[in-house]
């Protein structure tokens, strides 16, 4: 009879209330997301005279230079995804099937990629694998070499490694969260019927974790497709250029917004296809969420004598090291005085410089200000949209949800390009103002608030709302006194996410900043560009401090994401 489906027919807000609620968020998104996006679309689909034309787009798609870029973009993303899956699967298995000391820590570490800015990964990578990095120096002093033996930087390998190291915790996180909910009894039953080893995995386990695997793969693929700072710095040249980097170059260096728009269009189409795949996979994996994680797990501690146990232990150590290494490298390096390796002096010189004012302190102040404003904007925006999405059922509400999540699939480079293009025709331009950066950050951050908040709103049992309603709570007080308090920790998580995303954001900031509006990540990028690594690491350490605060809050408050 579908009686539960009818549950909130009368208690939920009526259509008029929904419209009023949606008014502000929709207006904001129209003005600061869809309008700039549309402007990029129009730019890509018109000729220099402003008439509709597929000419520019078509000329891109036959130009071998751009075709190579498109091919390289998709290819590196695919390889990076594959590598991330291979690295992440054992971790997902261990977290799902075993208990061990430090599991809590490892689990917390899988949150890191969601809050660690990519510029830190870049910096850590340069310092660790670079020609003058820790690894090479160690090998040189070990073997008495005069030349660095490993030349990883500025190559495809560097991009792939950085992407895999950055993203494999995402795989661990998403896959293990489904895997642990699959009761081992299905595997035990299969084993009793004679299946074992790879066959058991292939026939029984894989089909069950497949939705999570697909959704993790699609998400990592999107991340790598849209990856910007890593490719920009670690690719190190035109040979390893992706769509994102090329759009950035066209917009900021060649000042060719027309070609940039057309290329951005191509990139957007590719990433949207994969965003769609991700959303589909997500819907499938949420199916399995009702199963419980109540099975007793074997303890890893008891297996350490065996080869297998030792292998597991090594993997976990490796995993922790890979996640933590870039961060540790950055922090450690920031305390040096000179970048020579012969005599190293511990010094707080760079921190003194940052605190003494000037552009460095301004970058810190700007970043904090932008992050706080982004948090203040994206929290109500995301909460309202999540609430409407979770509480109302109307024709097209699914579509609305997809439309609201669109910014995840649109790169912030394209967004920045849109901001540069769109507001030029208007009487007031927002480019060059602090709120342009805040609005761009808000558009990037609010889908994460939606994700966390809507998962929680949906989990609130309808009988709770009905109970409150029968006790005299109208729609508004129902929200204020019941749903908001119940979603509190999710909203804290969402706010921390918004803060962390904004403070570490580099793509849109790089498109929109000027000297006055410089942020920490942009400053780090410029310091790397001038080979001032100690300064970059000091700024990086400050940035990580802020991200760490966000991380702590997210970790404490919980909430579902990823």
């Amino acid at each position: 009879m579908g009686k539960t489906g009818q549950s909130l027919e009368r208690t939920a807000a009526g259509p008029r209330t929904i419209l009023v609620l949606l008014l502000a968020p929709v207006a904001f998104l129209l003005l600061f997301f869809y309008f700039p996006l549309g402007s990029v679309l129009v730019g890509g689909l018109t000729d220099r005279g402003g008439r509709f034309s597929l000419g520019i787009l078509a000329s891109l798609l036959v130009d071998p230079y751009y075709l190579r870029i498109i091919g390289f973009t998709v290819g590196q993303a695919a390889l990076s995804t594959l590598l991330s899956l291979l690295m992440g699967l054992p971790g997902a298995y261990l977290l799902a099937r075993y208990d061990f000391r430090g599991k809590r820590l490892i689990q917390a570490l899988t949150t890191v990629p969601f809050v660690l800015p990519s510029i830190i990964v870049v910096l850590g990578f340069v310092r660790f694998f670079g020609n003058n990095g820790i690894l090479n120096r160690f090998l040189m002093s070990l073997f008495g070499l005069t030349e660095p033996p490993l030349r990883i930087l500025y190559s495809l390998q560097a991009i792939l490694l950085a992407h895999a190291f950055y993203n494999f915790p995402v795989v661990v996180r998403i896959v293990s969260s489904l895997w642990r909910r699959i009761h081992p009894s299905t595997e035990e039953a299969a084993r009793s019927l004679g299946a074992h080893g790879l066959r058991l995995f292939w026939r029984i386990t894989l089909p069950q974790i497949l939705p999570a695997l697909l959704s993790a793969a699609a998400l990592v693929f999107i991340f790598c497709l849209l990856s910007f700072a890593i490719v920009l710095v670690l690719g190190g040249g035109p040979r390893y250029t992706t769509l994102e980097v090329e759009v950035y170059r066209l917009a900021k260096v060649s000042l060719d917004l027309k070609t940039g728009s057309a290329l951005a269009l191509v990139g957007a189409i590719i990433s949207l296809v994969f965003l769609y795949a991700y959303i589909k996979a997500q819907q499938r994996s949420s199916f399995a969420e009702r199963m419980a994680d109540d099975a007793e797990k074997p303890r890893l501690g008891g297996m350490l004598g065996s080869v297998r146990g030792l292998f597991y232990l090594l993997y976990l150590l490796f995993m922790a090291l890979v996640i933590l290494a870039p961060m540790i490298t950055v922090v450690a390096y920031s305390f040096q005085l000179r970048s020579g390796w012969a005599q190293q002096t511990i010094s707080l010189e760079w921190y003194r410089r940052i605190l003494s004012g000037g552009p460095y302190l301004r970058a810190v102040a700007n970043s904090l200000f932008f992050a706080c404003m982004t948090m203040l904007l994206s929290l109500p925006l995301g909460t309202v949209l999540a609430y409407v999405g979770a509480r109302s059922r109307f024709a097209g509400s699914r579509l609305l949800e997809a439309v609201m999540m669109l910014p995840i699939g649109i790169s912030s480079i394209i967004l920045g390009l849109g901001y540069l293009k769109a507001y030029r025709q208007l009487p007031w331009t927002i480019v060059g103002s602090w709120y342009a950066i805040v609005f761009a950050h808000t558009v990037i951050a609010y889908p994460f608030v939606i994700r966390v908040a809507s998962a929680t709103f949906r989990k609130i049992k309808s009988s709770l709302a009905e109970a409150a309603c029968s006790l005299g709570a109208g729609p508004w007080r129902l929200f204020l006194h019941l749903e908001l308090p119940l979603a509190r920790s999710a909203l804290i998580t969402g706010a921390a996410f918004a803060f962390g995303i904004s403070v570490g954001e580099i793509n849109a900031s790089l498109m929109l900043y000027n000297e006055r509006l410089i942020t920490i990540p942009v400053m780090i990028y410029r310091l790397i560009g001038s080979y001032n690594f100690i300064g970059a690491c000091a700024m990086g350490s400050v940035l990580m401090l802020f991200c760490f605060l966000a991380f702590l809050i997210i970790d404490r408050a919980g909430g579902e994401f990823g």
Partner: protein, 372 residues
């Protein structure tokens, strides 16, 4: 006064709910029926969580169907308790008072009163998630009653509890309901609960009420076969009406069945309007009917077999015995019909062999056979 439900209709693609009944002032009315019959939907319609397609609801003479749920002043106890997990016991009970703008002093007094009523003094500061199922249920009841609702709705409130706790709590719910004299509608699919608790019982099937009456009459004088077989055990014998006559017990009818001719009082219950409604009083000789009687209305007959003057004697072979402590169930096969007898433990019986028993004519009900 009380709650008046007039011509309420709610239409779903595969289901149709039609309601027309009254909950009298201060009574506890049970809504009983199999799952999927529309009990809970009825409750939700009254609470205002869903709207009817037509019809009206009136509370103490004034209409409430045009009020939103939060203005109806109806207390509800949910099957899953639905306690607010972010509030403690005190704030859960006080939630409605806060929503309805009680003063802090009055609220405090009222919450203490209710904690006392449900015997949970000293629980005020506890977290609700740490309470046992029974305790949670009492808090849910206290919370529903706190703002002095005009009507109390209970949706299978005991179904999540174990059997022993259930029995204790239903006595308590009954006591509290009597003490407050609050008009109450109680949904359950547990017939024992219905018989013990209800002032009256409404038996529902497929979206409408089949019969609404006191527990005794629902059990002993069911309006139709559905009600008769839904509550308790029953023996059914199909047959044909052959004769009508008068006796000291009143108007009687004779029915020809496989096990012989049975006499039954007809109409079985002249006071019941529902019964005549389903089966016209005019006796149609030759009509196919079903004779219905309860296992406990059978008694052993030890008189010699030749005595044909006593009516409704049936003899059959004992097939099975079920020992139930205070009583025993005997399955007897007579002329291919399987009948159940409910006898007291004192009556000793052979393990097998022939058994003679008789059925009290006053206790037999006649229903029209299903049209085929």
């Amino acid at each position: 006064m009380g709650l008046q439900i007039r011509g309420i209709e709610k239409i779903y693609p595969d289901f149709r709910l039609e309601l027309d009944f009254r909950v009298r002032q201060g009574e506890l009315l049970i809504l009983l029926g199999p799952s999927g019959c529309g009990k809970t939907t009825t409750l939700r319609l009254i609470a205002g969580f869903i709207g009817p397609d037509s019809g009206t609801l009136a509370m103490d003479g004034s209409r409430i169907d045009n009020l939103p749920a939060h203005r109806r002043r109806i207390g509800i106890v949910f099957q899953d308790y639905a306690l607010f997990p972010h509030l403690n016991v005190w704030d859960n009970i006080g939630f409605g008072l806060r929503m309805q703008h009680w003063s802090p002093g009055e609220s405090r007094q009222r919450i203490e009163e209710l904690l006392h009523l449900v015997s949970l003094q000293g629980y005020a500061k506890r977290k609700v998630t740490r309470l046992s199922g029974g305790e949670q249920q009492r808090i849910a009841l206290a919370r529903a009653l706190a703002p002095q609702p005009r009507l109390l709705l209970l949706d299978e409130p005991l179904s999540a509890l174990d059997a022993k706790l259930r029995k204790g709590l239903r006595i308590e719910i009954r006591r509290i309901q009597r003490e407050l004299g609050i008009t109450t509608l109680y949904v359950t699919h547990d017939q024992e609960e219905a018989l013990v608790l209800g002032d009256r019982i409404a038996v529902m099937r497929e979206g409408h009420i089949e019969q609404i009456d006191t527990p005794e009459r629902i059990y002993n004088r069911p309006a139709n076969l559905f009600v008769g077989t839904f509550l308790g055990q029953a023996n059914l014998l199909s047959g044909r009406l052959v004769r009508r006559f008068s006796s000291p017990d009143g108007e009687m009818a004779a029915v020809q069945t496989a096990v012989g001719t049975l006499q039954a009082r007809w109409p079985a219950d002249p006071d019941s309007p529902t019964q005549t409604q389903h089966f016209p009083v005019e006796l149609q000789i030759g009509r196919e009917v079903i004779a219905f009687f309860r296992p406990e209305h059978c008694s052993l007959d030890r008189r010699p077999s030749g005595n044909t003057r006593s009516p409704n004697r049936i003899s059959g072979r004992v097939r099975r015995k079920e020992y139930l402590g205070s009583h025993q169930l005997i399955e007897v096969e007579a002329e291919g019909e399987h009948l159940i007898l409910d006898l007291s433990q004192q009556q000793s019986l052979p393990d097998s062999g022939l058994l003679r028993f008789s059925v009290d004519p006053v206790q037999i009900c006649l229903f029209p056979a299903a049209k085929s």
